[in-house]
């Protein structure tokens, strides 16, 4: 299986994860937001699969670009442009790499994080997806030597811990921020979806 096919597998796994987690993510968002995150992400990834089907991409970078455009056009709200930016920056980082190394993938994750932070102006502790993505990138960098699959696994685990860590926090960005102290006690839906997406990608790459 070549790298493009592996990337496609990862995207299919992410789409499946968003389908599976749709209700859960929506419930998380209902608690501290407007209750649409699961629906949004599910719709976006379904659109991504359609787009990949309609015009099959030739490189990992093109796969990620297509996902980005699908998310950007179908997710809406805050998560749409944020995940759209993440995939777009990752795509740019991988451009020209037909068979990306673990270091390339780590760099792509890093670019994604930088994009989200720049676009959303959020830092760790603001109770957003950054709380999952930033520890994931750190873990990936540390696991760079172990190959792509192990590296993604490490990233996914760190993201899961990061998402859990948002529970006690008060949100400072996004819709949840206006709740003030009332947001504490709930996991951030965007952090949760980040962890699920990375876990799905890791599983897909491990399995292939």
């Amino acid at each position: 299986m070549d790298a493009t096919e592996k990337t496609l597998e990862a995207v299919r796994a992410m789409a499946a994860a968003m389908e599976e987690r749709r209700v859960e993510l929506t419930q998380l968002d209902a608690a501290i937001g407007d209750g649409d995150h699961g629906t949004n992400m599910h719709r976006g990834f379904r659109a991504a699969l359609e787009r990949l089907q309609a015009s099959p991409p030739g490189t990992p970078s093109e796969v990620l670009k297509a996902v980005s455009m699908a998310l950007v056009s179908r997710v809406g709200g805050a998560a749409g442009p944020l995940y759209g930016t993440a995939f777009l920056r990752a795509s740019s980082a991988l451009s020209g790499r037909e068979e990306p190394s673990a270091a390339d993938v780590a760099a792509a994750l890093e670019a994604a994080l930088a994009g989200v932070k720049q676009r959303g102006r959020a830092e760790v502790g603001d109770k957003t997806m950054v709380d999952a993505l930033e520890p994931a990138v750190r873990a990936a960098r540390q696991a760079e030597g172990k190959g792509v699959a192990a590296m993604l696994r490490a990233a996914a685990e760190a993201a899961g811990e990061g998402a859990e860590a948002t529970v006690p926090l008060t949100a400072r960005k996004g819709r949840a921020s206006y709740l003030g102290a009332r947001a504490a006690g709930h996991k951030d839906p965007g952090a949760a979806s980040t962890a699920y997406l990375l876990a799905a990608a890791a599983r897909a790459v491990e399995g292939s």
């Binding site: 407007d34 709200g77 442009p81 944020l82 759209g84 676009r119 921020s177 206006y178």
Partner: protein, 332 residues
């Protein structure tokens, strides 16, 4: 829910089709994208203005597309930001080679999406820039916003920057002017009722028959205070007091004034409110250069209104008076 609609899920598409058919001399629809562009877009050599946001605020945004104001308006679902893809399509359709300028109201989704659209457009070689309007003095952060919200004052940015772009000003100049207008205007609103978004089918908030909400947002997001309804004069005094008491010093200045209806309030009441606004401004030594009374930025059928003051300089005055031809100006 009492509405003249066919299918709650298709209100935006059908509305846009209606706008295109009603005003074919002014606007054209990019059909797959829910974007209205000037009928004659792109205009070669002119900076193009693009705005947009959730639907349900009509005549904002599509009603302001036409010569002298916007080159394109992107319509999201009701109270939901349009996507970067729509914005990118709008950008490509109106780019006349002099750059594209986005007028963005400060709602998280709108800002994120327009920023991303700008990035995508730059990648395709189109120069873009943007302003984020935040004229609402009511609250600092809200359901949909970090920082102050952009509300009805945004129409002044459309008008003034639209005229400036017509006048051949550069992208950088338009941006500077937009920032100046945004920095010189302040707004605040109130409502008597909630609206009912078609897909939701029920009111966004409950409010008693004798209560009003002060400082609420145009999506029905909470304001600063819920209290008993007061006479029009007292309401105006409170809203205008907050506007005048904010960081722009209006005293002794010339101002554009807008009393903006939220949709469900009769024009009669807006003029009653304006009568008091004029009185207060006279007392405060603010000269009214021009008054705008009507439904400029609505929340579906919500009853209520907002007041906006814009402190004018000579350049703004000139552009405010320049001709424009858009559906919202009710071309007879």
């Amino acid at each position: 829910m009492k509405k003249i609609i066919n299918d709650p899920a298709r209100v935006v598409e059908e509305m846009l089709r209606g706008m295109e058919r009603a005003h074919p001399d002014l606007v054209r629809l990019l059909p797959e994208h829910n974007v209205l562009v000037r009928a004659d877009a792109p205009v070669e050599g002119k900076v193009a203005l693009v705005s947009g946001g959730g639907s349900g605020h009509e005549p904002t945004h599509g009603g302001y597309v036409g010569p002298g104001m916007l080159d394109a308006a992107c319509a999201g679902a009701v109270f939901t930001s349009p996507t970067p893809e729509q914005m990118l399509e709008a950008t490509k359709a109106v780019d006349g080679g002099a750059g594209v300028f986005y007028v963005v109201k400060n709602y998280t989704g709108d800002v994120l999406n327009f920023e991303m659209a700008g990035e995508l457009a730059q990648a395709e070689g189109i120069e873009t820039d943007y302003v984020v309007t935040n004229d609402d003095v009511a609250v600092e952060d809200s359901t949909y916003t970090s920082g102050r919200r952009g509300i009805a004052g945004t129409i002044f940015v459309h008008k003034i920057c639209g005229a400036a772009a017509d006048d051949g000003r550069s992208l950088a100049e338009v941006k500077e002017l937009a920032g100046r207008v945004n920095g010189s205007m302040r707004s605040m609103g109130m409502s008597l009722t909630s609206c009912i978004p078609p897909e939701r089918g029920q009111p966004i908030f409950q409010i008693a028959d004798d209560e009003m909400e002060i400082g609420m947002g145009i999506h029905g997001e909470p304001g600063t205070e819920r209290k008993k309804i007061e006479p029009a004069g007292a309401i105006v005094d409170e809203l205008l007091g907050r506007v005048l008491g904010d960081t722009v010093d209006f005293s002794g200045s010339e101002a554009a004034v807008m009393v903006n209806g939220l949709g469900g309030t009769p024009l009669m009441e807006l003029y009653i409110a304006y009568a008091r606004v004029a009185e207060v401004l006279e007392r405060e030594g603010v000269r009214v250069f021009r008054a705008y009374v009507g439904n400029y930025m609505t929340s579906l059928e919500m009853a209520g209104f907002s007041v906006t003051l814009l402190k004018l300089d000579e350049e703004m005055k000139r552009y405010l008076q320049a001709p424009c031809r858009v559906p919202a100006s009710r071309p007879f």
